[in-house]
C-alpha cells in the first residue's frame, strides 16, 4: 500500500520570511516571494512585486510561477549578447524533495510496526523536513530575482518584466524559447573554460589576480560546500535520533512525563539548530559556489573575446599581406577590440562589486548563524535544566 501524507492533501501554504542577501535596498523595484504552495512535488511560488517604475502597468502585483519559469528567465538572460560583460546571477537549483520522499516511504512501510507515538513522531520529522526543503528553495528562488532587480541593466530586461508581470501561464513562451535558442550558449564547451581562462596571456594586473583567485577559490568553496552538507546531514541524523529516544524513554521511565516531554522539545531545538546552520552556512556556501562559477563564466566570455580579437588581428595581417578584403578585416578587428574592451570594463566593475557583495553576504549569514546557534543552545540549556530539576525533585 502506498502512503500518502496529509501534507499533500492539505495544500498548505507556507508563510516564509525572506532571507535574502540584502538586495532589496532600492525601493523603486522590490521583489519577494511571500509564500509558496506545495502540490505533489511541484512548487508554485507567489512572486510579489512593488514598484514605482512607469514601465510596469501597476504599482503592486503578484503572479504564480513555477521553477521552470525561473530557468527560462535565466537562460534568456544568459543568451543575451549584451549581457556578456556581466555576471549572470546563477539559476536556482530545482526543488529537491528526495529526502522527505524517502522518509515518506519509510513511514508508509513501517506504519504497521510502529506504535501510535512513533508514527506521530516520524510524521512530525517528515513535515519538518518538507518545511526545511521548502524554506531553502523559496530562499534561493527569491535571491535570484532580487539579484536581477538590483542590477542596473537586468532590471530593465524585457523578459524580466514579463516574468514579473504577465498574469498568464509562461509555459508557451518557455517552449518557444527552447526551440529558438536550443541552449546554444549553455552547450558551449564549458569544460574547456578552465584551460582557456588560464591560457590567456594577461596584461591586465586586475584580471590576472582575479583569474588566479577565482580558479583557486572555486575549488575550495566547492569542497567546503560538500563538507558543510555532510556535517549538516549528520547533525540532522543526531536530531532524528533524539526524536526516537525521547519517545522510547517516555515509554520506559513511565514515572515522569514532564521531564521527557522536555526531551521532545529538546529534539525540536536540536533540529532547528541543524536546519538553521544549514540555511545560513551550507546554503550560503552552495550559493556562492554557483556565483563563483558565474564569475568564472564572465572571465571565460572575456577570454573568448580576447581570443577572437587576437584571431581578428591575425586575419587582418593576412588580409593585408594578400591585399584582399582589408577593409572588412579592419572592421572586424575594430569590432572585436570594442567588444573586448567593453567586456573588460564592465567585467572589472562586476567583479569588484561581486567581491563586495560576497563579503556582505558572508558577514550577514555568519552573524545570523552564530546568533541563532547561541539562541538555540541557550534554549536547550534551559529545557535541560528544567528537566533535571523535575527529575531531582522526585
Amino acid at each position: 500500500k502506498i502512503y500518502e501524507p496529509e501534507v499533500h492533501s492539505d495544500r498548505r501554504k507556507w508563510r516564509m520570511r525572506s532571507v535574502s542577501v540584502d538586495l532589496n535596498n532600492d525601493a523603486s523595484l522590490v521583489i519577494d516571494i511571500p509564500d509558496a504552495l506545495c502540490e505533489r512535488d511541484k512548487v508554485k511560488f507567489t512572486v510579489h512585486t512593488k514598484t514605482t517604475l512607469s514601465s510596469f502597468q501597476k504599482p503592486e502585483f503578484s503572479v504564480p510561477r513555477q521553477h521552470e519559469d525561473f530557468i527560462w528567465l535565466h537562460d534568456t538572460i544568459v543568451e543575451t549578447e549584451e549581457y556578456a560583460g556581466f555576471i549572470i546571477p546563477p539559476a536556482p537549483p530545482k526543488p529537491d524533495f528526495e529526502g522527505p520522499r524517502e522518509k515518506m516511504h519509510k513511514l508508509g512501510e513501517g506504519e504497521s510496526s510502529m506504535t501510535k507515538e512513533e508514527y506521530a513522531k516520524m510524521k512530525q520529522e517528515l513535515e519538518a523536513e518538507y518545511l526545511a526543503v521548502f524554506k531553502k528553495t523559496v530562499q534561493v528562488h527569491e535571491v535570484f530575482l532580487q539579484r536581477l532587480s538590483s542590477h542596473p541593466m537586468f532590471r530593465k530586461d524585457r523578459n524580466f518584466q514579463i516574468f514579473l508581470e504577465y498574469d498568464q501561464d509562461l509555459s508557451v513562451r518557455r517552449k518557444n524559447a527552447k526551440e529558438m535558442f536550443g541552449g546554444f550558449f549553455k552547450n558551449m564547451v564549458k569544460s574547456a573554460d578552465e584551460v582557456l581562462i588560464s591560457g590567456v596571456k594577461e596584461v591586465d594586473e586586475f584580471f590576472e589576480q582575479e583569474k588566479n583567485f577565482l580558479l583557486d577559490y572555486s575549488i575550495k568553496i566547492k569542497d567546503a560546500t560538500a563538507k558543510a552538507e555532510k556535517m549538516t546531514r549528520s547533525h540532522k541524523n543526531v536530531a532524528d535520533d533524539y526524536n526516537h529516544i525521547s519517545g522510547a524513554l517516555n515509554n520506559t521511565a513511565a514515572d515522569n512525563n514532564t521531564a521527557f516531554k522536555n526531551m521532545c522539545v529538546l529534539q525540536k531545538v536540536e533540529d532547528r539548530m541543524a536546519s538553521d546552520q544549514e540555511l545560513k552556512l551550507t546554503e550560503l556556501l552552495r550559493y556562492y559556489t554557483r556565483d563563483i562559477q558565474a564569475a568564472k563564466d564572465l572571465l571565460y566570455r572575456r577570454a573568448r573575446a580576447l581570443a577572437d580579437y587576437e584571431n581578428s588581428n591575425k586575419a587582418l595581417d593576412k588580409a593585408r599581406l594578400k591585399g584582399k578584403d582589408v577593409a572588412q578585416a579592419e572592421e572586424n578587428q575594430k569590432q572585436c577590440l570594442q567588444k573586448f574592451d567593453k567586456l573588460s570594463e564592465s567585467g572589472k566593475k562586476e567583479l569588484t562589486s561581486f567581491k563586495a557583495r560576497r563579503v556582505v553576504a558572508f558577514r550577514k549569514n555568519l552573524i545570523e548563524m552564530t546568533e541563532l546557534e547561541i539562541k538555540h543552545a541557550k534554549n536547550s540549556v534551559s529545557l535541560l535544566q528544567g528537566s533535571i530539576e523535575i527529575l531531582k525533585s522526585n
Binding site: Q209, F213, D216, Y217, K220, I221, D223, A224, A226, K227, A228, K230, M231, R233, S234, H235, N237, V238, D241, Y242, H244, I245, A248, L249, N251, T252, A253, D255, N256, A259, L266, K355, R358, V359, F362, R363, L366, I367, T370, E371, E373, I374, A377, K378, S380, V381, L384, Q385, S387, I388, L391, K392, N394
Partner: protein, 505 residues
C-alpha cells in the same frame, strides 16, 4: 559447533524459535563493535529488530551445547583473528579522553538519603581499576584491581584490594546463579565475553579500539560488582566475600568455559524443555501474569531504546568526524579568500568548528558510557528476571509432577487390592505405602518450594523495580547534565566567534 562470534544472550521466555538471518549482529556484540567501527555498526543497529535474537544452536537436545562453545581465555585461539584496526572513520583520540570514569553509582547526597531510608547501613564502595596485561600472545589475559571500601562488619577490613581476572567474575556469577536463581533471586548477570575484543588485546594492539574495549569492560565489571552487592542476600554470600577479600582465588576450572549468558541460557533451556512438556501453567495469581507481561513489554522497549541510542552514538561520532573535516575545509577556504577580514573570520570559524568537533566526540562518549551501557545492562537484567519467572514455572511443574506421581501411586495401591498374588501382596503393599509417603513428602515440599519462590520473586521484583527507577533517574540526570555542559560550551565558542563575524568590514 564452533562459533566465530559471541553467542547472543538469552532471548527470554521464548517458546518459539525465531527464524533469524545468520548474520544479524546481536545487540551486545554490535555495542562492542560500535566503538570499533562506526560504519559497520550503523548498518547493523538499523537492521536489528527486537525479535531477531533467536537461539542459534543446531542441536536442540544438547542443552549445554551453547554454554560451552566459547573459547576459554587460556586455550590457544582456534579462530582466525578477526578484523584489524579501527575503521578509517574514527579520528584518533588521545587515550586520556577515555579515562574520565563515568561513575554510574556516584554517591550523590540525595541518593545517600534514599539509601538510609531503605537500608540500615549500606556503606560499601567498590571500584575496578588499573587493568594490566599479564603474559603474552594468546595466553595473555587482563587483570583488574578490585578495591572494596566499607564499614560493614561482615568484612574483615575497611579497605581491601585484590587482583582478579575476567574469568573470576564469571566464576562468581556462575556460583551465585546456581545457588540462588532457583529460589527466585534475581542474580545480576556478569558482563559478556568478547572474543574479538579480547583477541585484539591479547595480540597486543595498542590502538584506540583495544583501549576502548578494556575501558568498557572495566566499567562493566565495576557495575556488575556494585549491582551484586546491592542485593542484600548476595552481599552476605561467602563466595562474594571471598571474591572481594581473599588474595588468592581458586580458579573455578569447570566454569571457565561458561559465560554469564551461557549459564542463563542453560538454566532457561531447562525451563523451556520442561514447559514444552507440561501443560500451560494455571496461573492462580494474576500478579505474576501481569508482571510477566510487563517485563516482556519492557524488554521490547529497552531493546528498541538501546538500538536508538546506539544509532545516536554512531551518528554523533559521524558528526564529529564531519565537523572536523569541514573545519579543515573552512580553513583552506579562509586561506584562499582574498578579502583580509573575511579571510580571518573564516579561519576563526574553522577553529570554532574544530573545538565543536571535539565537543561532539566527548558527548558521544557520554552517550555511550552513560546511556547505552546502562540499557545494555538492563536488557541483560530483564533476561535474568524472566529467568526467575521461568524457575517458578519449573517449581510449579515439579510440584504438579509430584502430585501426578502421587496419584499414580495411590491408584497403584488401589489396584493392588485386586491383585491375585496373596503371598506377594503384603510386600507390594508395603512398598507402595513407602512410595506413597515419599511422594506425599515431595508434593508437600513442591508446594512449599513453589510458595517460597513465589514469595521471593514478589520481593525481588519489588526491589528490582525500585532500583531500576532509581538507576535510570540517576543516570538520566547525569546524562542531561552532560548535555547541558555541551550546550554551555557551544554557547561559549559561538559567543567568542560573534565579534569576529561582526568585524568583517
Amino acid at each position: 559447533m564452533s562459533e566465530e562470534r559471541e553467542p547472543p544472550p538469552l532471548p527470554g521466555a521464548a517458546q518459539t524459535v525465531f527464524p533469524e538471518p545468520q548474520d544479524a549482529e546481536d545487540l551486545f556484540v554490535s555495542a562492542a563493535s560500535a566503538m570499533e567501527s562506526p560504519e559497520a555498526a550503523c548498518l547493523s543497529a538499523e537492521d536489528i529488530s527486537p525479535s531477531s535474537n533467536g537461539p542459534r544452536d543446531d542441536d536442540p537436545d544438547d542443552l549445554f551445547a551453547e554454554a560451552t562453545e566459547e573459547v576459554s581465555l587460556d586455550s590457544p585461539e582456534r579462530q582466525p583473528i578477526l578484523s584489524d584496526g579501527p575503521s578509517p572513520a574514527i579520528t584518533p583520540v588521545t587515550p586520556v579522553m577515555i579515562s574520565p570514569r563515568v561513575d554510574v553509582f556516584d554517591r550523590s547526597p540525595d541518593q545517600d538519603e534514599d539509601e538510609e531510608e531503605n537500608r540500615d547501613t549500606f556503606d560499601i564502595q567498590i571500584s575496578v581499576s588499573d587493568p594490566e596485561k599479564v603474559g603474552d600472545g594468546m595466553n595473555a589475559y587482563m587483570v583488574y584491581k578490585v578495591t572494596t571500601k566499607t564499614s560493614l562488619s561482615i568484612f574483615s577490613r575497611d579497605e581491601v584490594c585484590v587482583k582478579r581476572r575476567f574469568s573470576d567474575f564469571l566464576g562468581l556469577y556462575s556460583k551465585l546463579a546456581s545457588k540462588y536463581m532457583h529460589m527466585g533471586y534475581i542474580v545480576p548477570p556478569a558482563p559478556e565475553k568478547s572474543i574479538v575484543g579480547m583477541t585484539k588485546v591479547k595480540v597486543g594492539k595498542e590502538d584506540l579500539s583495544s583501549v576502548e574495549f578494556v575501558e568498557k569492560r572495566r566499567s562493566a565489571l565495576e557495575r556488575y560488582l556494585l549491582r551484586t552487592v546491592k542485593h542484600p542476600a548476595l552481599l552476605k554470600d561467602p563466595d562474594v566475600l571471598q571474591f572481594l577479600e581473599s588474595s588468592e582465588l581458586p580458579r573455578a576450572v569447570s566454569t571457565q568455559a561458561l559465560s554469564g549468558a551461557g549459564i542463563l541460557r542453560m538454566v532457561n533451556k531447562a525451563a523451556d524443555a520442561v514447559n514444552k512438556m507440561t501443560i500451560k501453567m494455571n496461573e492462580s495469581d494474576a500478579w505474576f501474569e501481569e508482571k510477566q507481561q510487563q517485563f516482556e513489554n519492557l524488554d521490547v522497549q529497552l531493546r528498541k531504546l538501546h538500538a536508538s541510542v546506539e544509532s545516536l552514538v554512531c551518528h554523533r561520532k559521524e558528526l564529529s568526524v564531519n565537523t572536523a573535516s569541514f573545519a579543515k575545509s573552512a580553513a583552506m577556504l579562509g586561506n584562499s579568500e582574498d578579502h583580509t577580514a573575511l579571510s580571518r573570520a573564516l579561519s576563526q570559524l574553522a577553529e570554532v568548528e574544530e573545538k565543536i568537533d571535539q565537543l561532539h566526540q566527548d558527548q558521544s562518549y557520554a552517550d555511550f558510557y552513560l546511556i547505552s551501557e546502562l540499557l545494555g545492562d538492563y536488557v541483560r537484567l530483564i533476561t535474568a528476571v524472566k529467568g526467575v519467572f521461568d524457575q517458578r514455572m519449573k517449581a510449579w511443574a515439579k510440584w504438579q509432577d509430584a502430585q501426578v506421581m502421587l496419584q499414580r501411586k495411590r491408584e497403584a495401591e488401589a489396584k493392588l487390592q485386586y491383585a491375585n498374588k496373596p503371598d506377594k501382596l503384603q510386600q507390594a503393599t508395603d512398598e507402595i505405602r513407602e512410595e506413597i509417603e515419599e511422594w506425599e513428602g515431595k508434593v508437600q515440599q513442591g508446594e512449599r518450594d513453589f510458595e517460597q519462590i513465589s514469595k521471593n520473586i514478589r520481593r525481588e521484583v519489588g526491589r528490582f523495580e525500585k532500583d531500576r527507577v532509581k538507576d535510570f533517574r540517576v543516570v538520566i540526570i547525569k546524562y542531561l547534565e552532560s548535555l547541558v555542559h555541551t550546550q554551555q560550551q557551544l554557547i561559549k565558542y559561538w559567543e567568542a566567534f560573534l565579534p569576529e563575524a561582526k568585524a568583517i568590514a
